[in-house]
Symmetry: D2
Subunit: 300 residues, 4 copies
């Protein structure tokens, strides 16, 4: 098939390469021309200097995959696409957009006769390049038209038409919530090992747990990789950033009145890690001093 | 009444003073002679240079209140007391002993005919001096014999015969578990205020919440005190020490298969506060880097 | 002073009565005429059949206190008030509105020259009647004009001008978050007592903890009251409803990247209590069966 | 090699079969003769009617693998073995024993010159039969003697000599703590899906997440299996039993002052699932009624 790819960051670049290596034709564009030129010279992509050029290079029904940072940029790209697309064309947002925004965008595009699919993408940068996991929401007929693309870029059984508009990004959001919990679970386990009397080799532990154990998982394999590079992680700090989807998952839990303590705490511990001292800690320390005369530690 | 007081730290000293100011006679002893001499000169206590002297200064049935740090010191004092006490004498452990140890000690003392009461003491150092809260476990008849002491040193309705041996210290342990949760609740509230856009005066907030609100409490009054001395707690670090009873409460919850997430988390956040960086944080940061190429922060 | 009170539910009725008993004049209105008539006959309120009548009965600068359920009703009342109020008049929202809505409403009212104060009210129905706690946000000059009202209805030191618009309702929201944590802390403590080997009288425990202990608090006194009516709470189910402010507190924590596990868990356990079985429990039970052959319990 | 296997429950039976199918000779014994006879007739095991017979059928240095329920039965088997074993023989405890007990048992056996290995076994019943994961603690020389057994029954790289006595069972314990967290994470994710507006097919979701996603894992594959049998898990109740290792992990976290909220909460939610109503819920419901007049739900 023939498709446009807008946004050539780590994920978009790898997806384009993946499509090209699977005999699809890809017209690529990014505000930064470098990655597009590289895809053209190395993998045979067609370089487009603008979004309009992407559209011009496709035929009805056009297929355009957007892979840009979630937020306003998605809307800017959509606004640029609307006048250059036609009724029946298909736009895919493969980024980490909030599912409610995807529903709104789908309605907006539909008003112009354009079909919009919200596609959650998992598998990391490596999965994008060599076979990832895709969760697809939107009009079923549109999905079926482009299904060959997913057959090309997903690992076997690694894509799912999940249902109506928003269901793809919602599923990806929950996936990330689970991911937060799994990562924190693994991390707490290694914290306990590191505090124990025993003298474990963490890389070896991650390796044995990756082979035949109940907790074997891709994340455990990645844990092995990480320890193979830095055996005690001495060179990195334990600052746990988050990029939005964990927060959205917890917000959804609150809206749905669902009791999800593990996902919630995984997020809160990330926030905790952003600080080396806390105001709540100061209050508790001060209170212990007030009622029991327990010593406090002076700051500075 | 006439009673011996062994252990004259912050709590024991204040309790002895409280008893003396309420017309009881107190023979006082501590390994450090200073506080005993001060109680003698200022409040009319009788100074004893040894535990044996305490016993010698009392008449059957003797009453001895032990107020020493929980752990082996309690056993050492008991072992010293056993040969110098007689059948029917009463020993009170007013410290923060584990209730299971109190049950064992009660049995041991009973084998010598000595009655043992486990008494949980709350109200802080101020409560000890001017009227505290006492939770009493052990033989009811022994309690009734010494009830006048509790009438003297407790605030009105501030003592309770709780039941069989161990029930006093168990009740105190649970009290401390609740205390951990309440303190963390208050502290988290102020953390949210401190992170908000608004410009609150924390002392004033604690004051208004201490007057007529649903959350008015002694802890909130102490919060006001703390902020009155250091308006933003700039001078103390948020290191939250713990002295054992919170941990015992969570261990009891595990044994009783009771779901007590708030008390458990209050303790775990105290442990978290002892570290400025964590191994679990390093693992999560490393994993984010592995699958998504997210940047990590180098440790210096 | 002279003030209108719109909304005469449990809280509004009691506040009106409180004002009337403190020598203020109150024009009262509610969609249901009964409580207004009762306030008129028993406490000398002036009955108003409509919001317009309330406004007509006041003189510039008018003062109108709104005490209606948070949400759209507040906007409806404000929309009715706008045309019948004048520049410089003061409207107080004393309900549990979201602080962001209060900021928006303040701006809207300001566009009509009307001053808007967001007032958080605590102390329960009893506090409303006999002396509560009030947290006030908005224009300081407007607050000072009506300060005598707060002197009348608050307990001593029980009101605070907290700052700019929204700061009153934000403070009340955080207050409720703390309240959730304190209630859950107390409740978990009693759960542990109920599961222990000891045979505690819960009313007596709550009473002794209300007298001289570190955890003495109004909530502990209410716990005593509750147990005095139903010693083991045999007659009520443990369904913990919530009315929005706890959820808003956690949402704020997420927005502020503040780690507040205890408040968050207090809310999540309330959600958990709404269900007698859970889907997450089914998944875990099914997984244990899958890998270890552990038996599951059949439903129905 | 030639080895004795004592305890032929789900795990012991499958391990014996696994060894036999990999050309090792196994003398099998269980208090229940049935599984031993079956192993003899189907897989060529040698049946032993008693522990003594097991020992008699082996030659120095004897190797005996114990696979019985954790607790006193392990000690009973060891006590029976001691008089029939000789200096230099090797005993393996492959069950879920507490690592502290394993250290004590190792010392006890060592006093008789018998070498004791604590081996954590993971991979479920299927792993035991077809290739599992083994974490081995104890004397290194003893491990090296029996390493061929692990090469036979583990998947490739699926065994690890972890270090001194206790390190194998400690590692298995932490493994289970991680497992609790992972299972709860997955389960909470599906709970959110089940409460959402979308109409997901859970089996398909588990399948797509098992193929190429970041959260792909054996547990996710088992989740797919479970949903394939009962699409909405309508036929099982969400009662989450636990068998001790999660509790031990949390107890270790308390002892090590390690902040592991996710593992702790995973356990506490299991305890919560054992009850359909809670005492803490009753207390909170009663308190809401006390201060705000909020309705309670009557029991019965």
């Amino acid at each position: 098939m023939r498709i446009g790819m807008i946004g050539l960051g780590k994920m978009g670049y790898n997806l384009a390469q993946n499509l090209l290596q699977n005999q699809h034709q890809v017209i690529v564009h990014d505000v930064n021309p470098e990655p597009g030129k590289q895809l053209a010279s190395e993998f045979g992509a067609e370089f487009a200097a603008s979004i309009e050029e992407v559209a011009a290079g496709l035929q009805s029904p056009r297929m355009v995959w957007i892979m840009v940072p979630a937020g306003k940029i998605v809307d800017q790209v959509l606004d640029t696409l609307i006048p250059v697309l036609e009724k029946g064309d298909i736009v895919i947002d493969g980024g980490n957009s909030h599912y409610k925004q995807s529903i709104a965008r789908s309605e907006k595009m539909q008003a112009h006769g354009i079909r919009f699919l919200d596609v959650g993408t998992s598998g990391g940068t490596e999965g994008a390049a060599r076979g990832g996991c895709f969760m697809i929401g939107g009009e079923q007929e549109a999905f079926e038209l482009i299904e060959p693309l997913f057959q090309a870029i997903a690992v076997d059984k690694g894509y799912l038409y999940a249902g109506k508009s928003g269901s793809g990004h919602f599923l990806k959001m929950i996936h990330n919530g689970i991911e937060y919990g799994m990562m924190q679970s693994i991390a707490e386990g290694f914290e306990l090992l590191s505090k124990s009397d025993f003298d474990y080799n963490f890389e070896e532990v991650a390796r044995v747990w990756s082979n035949g154990s109940v907790i074997r998982s891709w994340l455990m394999e990645l844990t092995e990789n990480a320890f193979s590079k830095d055996p005690n992680l001495d060179h990195i700090r334990g600052i746990m950033q988050s990029s939005g989807e964990g927060k959205w998952t917890v917000e959804s839990a609150l809206d749905l009145q669902a009791s999800t303590p593990v996902i919630a705490l995984s997020l809160l511990m990330r926030y905790r890690s952003l600080e080396t001292d806390t105001f709540h800690g100061k209050v508790v320390a001060a209170l212990r001093n007030e009622f029991g005369g327990h010593a406090v530690v002076s700051s500075s």
